[in-house]
Amino acid sequence: MNFINDDIFMAEEKFEPKITCFVCNWCTYTGADLAGTSRLKQQTNARLIRVPCTGRIDPVFIIKAFESGADGVLVSGCHPADCHYNTGNYHARRRWIFFRELLKQVGIPESRLHFSWVSASEGKKWVDVVNGVIDTVRKEGPFEDYHKVNTEFAFPEPEEAVCS
């Protein structure tokens, strides 16, 4: 008996991007939930990380996502004036204005980092945004620049101790 589906191994290797999404609990996560309960179809490359508010997203999270092998990052939260905590997304927006420019200066292109406002009732918009981001990143290809930083130049593992 052969339990392994040979197709998986035989299939031509095709690039599928990994997208890390940081979504706020009150709007975008609920919106994505709505997309699911409404049976809307979306591509499955996105991994969602739920945070209380977009204001909770430290830019170090985004760098960590790239370090961990993400090809693209999507950050999404409540529309301006809709924040559950009143001002969290305004603070976050101001931070990202700087962070985007910093990443551009370092050589991480805009096509790798996306931002959106998706409310709890915008299940359809969420599907469009996610599909759009996935398509953009797929076109860009794997984020080889950063993957190289992760692997080729990573600090070498210490060699096994030799007892004399």
Partner: protein
């Protein structure tokens, strides 16, 4: 520099200042180093010349606050901007510091070489505050000096002209040199966190080994934490033993603050900080 010594001695004798953070000659007499004078006698050692490149405002958040009297500090025009920035960020108050402003005629980029147009740091080339805008007592005279083209601005333009892969490769080659000594952090007057994010081990956000991966995240986060706060003294770059052009990142953040918010940090002590505040009319174009 008699005027400076007299001002310092007067402040120490009248107990207005508990100590004066200033510059003194190194034992070889060629350079200067930071020096803290606690008595009028010690204050006689204070000097000010072209090698006084250090931004002494860094000590204001590191030194134990005196029980009586103020923290005296010898400050050039550019250093007063750091002091105002610290006041803006509520680290110190104006009445905690006694500022001996010195009129500055430029400092050297490389202290081992003589002062001249080809030996000027970027901050002196861009300088508009030879006379300190804030001070309790003002000493010295400011002589004009020749200002060549700014090298940082030129490198910024070169970087601007690259595509993203070239830019990434450029930074990879620069960050590869980083040995994680954190001199950039220690010398920065605006880096005063009691526990720096890079020292946090649970969870460890930034790899502490000097691998390229950790160097990338460290240098990016360092620049980001100074976004809209950097006062452009260039001490990080001067302290860097591996000559990483950190100001290219800091300058970019300063440009964003200027272009998008028309804001300069450390100019008006009453103004709220940029990243600590928000505006509903901020740029919303990059959101889908």
């Amino acid at each position: 520099m008699q005027e400076l010594i007299q001002a310092a001695q007067a402040a120490l004798t009248s107990k207005e200042a508990a100590f004066i953070i200033g510059y003194a000659l190194t034992p070889d007499g060629k350079k200067t180093r930071p020096f803290i004078a606690r008595t009028p006698d010690e204050a006689a050692k204070l000097v000010f010349n072209h090698t006084c490149a250090h931004n002494l405002a860094v000590y204001l958040t590191r030194i134990a606050k005196p029980k009586e009297g103020k923290m005296g500090i010898v400050a050039k025009g550019c250093d007063t901007r750091a002091i105002v920035a610290l006041i803006q960020e509520n680290k110190i108050t104006r009445d905690q510091v006694y500022i001996i402003g010195v009129n500055c005629s430029g400092v050297t980029a490389d202290v081992t070489l003589p002062f001249g147009a080809d030996n000027l740091p970027s901050k002196c080339i861009m300088c508009q505050v030879q006379v300190p805008p804030v001070s309790d007592v003002l000493v010295g005279t400011a002589a004009p000096y020749d200002k060549p083209k700014d090298a940082v601005t030129e490198r910024m333009q070169l970087l601007e002209a690259m595509n993203e892969h070239e830019r990434f490769a450029f930074w990879a080659s620069e960050f590869e040199k980083c040995i994680k000594c954190y001199a950039c952090r220690q010398t920065c007057p605006m880096c005063y966190c009691e526990q720096c994010i890079v020292d946090k081990t649970v969870p460890r956000w930034i790899e502490s080994s000097a691998s390229l991966r950790g160097n990338f995240s460290w240098n990016m986060i360092r620049a980001f934490h100074l976004a809209g706060r950097c006062i452009g003294c260039g001490e990080c770059e001067r302290a860097c033993p591996m000559d990483i052009p950190l100001m290219l990142l800091n300058r970019k953040m300063g440009m964003v603050a200027m272009q998008q918010f028309n804001y300069r940090h450390g100019v008006n002590p009453e103004e709220p900080t940029l990243v600590g505040s928000y505006n509903m009319q901020d740029n919303n174009e990059f959101f889908k």
